[in-house]
Amino acid sequence: MVGVIHARGLVRTFRGRGRGAKEVHAVRGVDIDVQAGEVVGFLGPNGAGKTTTLRMLTTLLEPTAGEASVAGHDLRTDPVGVRRNIGYVPQSGSSLPIARVGEELTDHAALYGIPTAVARARGEELFARLDLEGVWTRKVESLSGGQRRRLDIAKGLVHQPPLVFLDEPTTGLDPQSRANLWVHVSDLRDKAGVTVFLTTHYLEEADVLCDRILVIDHGKIVAVGTPDELKRRVSGDAVLLRLADPAHVPAATRLAAALPEADEPGVDGDVVHVRVPNGASALPGLLRELDRAGVPLAAVEVRRPTLDDVFLSLTGRSLRDAETPAEGELVGAR
């Protein structure tokens, strides 16, 4: 059986701007398979090709090469069929501040040919499910960030698509609204049977929410797996040493590298990090050696592997560092 998303060799090349500009290879041959009922996370730093891939899968951008079937319809030959069967919640939001909440929903539904009365009934049910009761006649601008995001999601679901794309659904939300939204996204799968494909910057989010994760970097998928599988790829604990004086980085690096079974230590400003099979038991000896070498420490940390470590080991970059938007990745930014 062909999955809800089945993409092979998707490529997107942008023409550069100006004279003599080089072509930009945003996506260089991406294969994606998503099965019905999955919540799949799409991770990658800005500029990695995440948004470009998402825009191709949602028919907003035509692939330069490759083929894909999305929600049972061919992306190239039947984009309208794809549109009928997917919901899309863009990062920029989807609602006009001066419009009224309920009308935003029924207007959007009308573009799918859904009569207003039906849209209203569905909308009220969706609003109840998403804790949005009592906002129907209010203006969009009077909603909180979390409410607005849930309105966007309601709009993405009003035509009852089997597959919904969420582009960074919790970016800009406070931690409480974020946790709240996670519950709603899980419910989409568990209670409504909707397949969810989401992009995110937050590894914690991917960890909590996603059945499977795809990691993209430099326009290629560099890893696929469940959060646990990916974490198992990174063996051992990270030991982080924050030095009181960056001048001691070479000495600290040398001592860290000398630990039994240690990998190549890395340096990030005044922090030296090294991976060892058991961080807690390696630490006392290391601290003694550092003390003997006259390297004063500001802080020490031992970390169990997180998805962030997975990301770092796969892409050489931390997702947190990548949070500032890069050129070409900002679409519909405010």
């Binding site: 907003l60 951008l61 899309y88 939001g93 989807s94 609602s95 006009l96 001066i98 573009l111 405010r334």
Partner: protein
Amino acid sequence: MNETLVVFRRAMRLSLRNPTWVIIGLAQPILYLVLFGPLLKPLASQLGTGNAYRLFVPGILVQLGIFGALFVGFGLIAEYRAGVIETQRVTPAPRTALLMGRVGRDVVVLLVQAILLTLVALPLGLRAPVGGVLIGLVVVALLGAAFSAVSYAVALTLKSEDALAPLLNAVAMPVLLLSGILLPMTLAPGWLEKLSDINPLKHVVDGVRAFFRGDFSGGTAWWGLGVTAALVLLGFWFGTRTFRRESA
């Protein structure tokens, strides 16, 4: 077609709820009419007409048609920024419907403004044949449709108010001066009149003036209507092409 109606209905509702721009758009030509029109009255015979307003109102109507429609792109940029356009583009609605529904709203708003303006001109002294005035209003509506489509297409390409504003102003100023909207180009020295002949809008203004005179037999009126129809085709071609283009 149905989707065009959906987009139109939504745009119309938003305009009615937030009528500030509709009112400002109407106040300006009325000010022209009340504060500039009287200056032309003593010049009527010099301008070759018995009724200065029969000359002036068509100009102001065409001006309303151009400027009322040319700036609608700003609203589209606001919608784009809110993610509305992107969200609508992922629905099965045809891209042309997303454009035409909005253009339809602009034409309706423009027609209401134009009718009000004409009614205000009556007590001031406008005398013109009803048939001519009605055709004149149709020409203004068509002109508005053309400029509204162009404005949306340019806005969707630029996606920034900061880029759109200077561009529109740079185009609007010479077009206005070379169209004979305020004073007919027959007053101009030869070189200026020749220059203005290149401007299609001059022919539109002359056409509407001919209709207001009740001069249906001369070529001027129908030539003006023809130029307007050509502008509509050009504007719609540019607009739909832009809206159909991916990542626009």
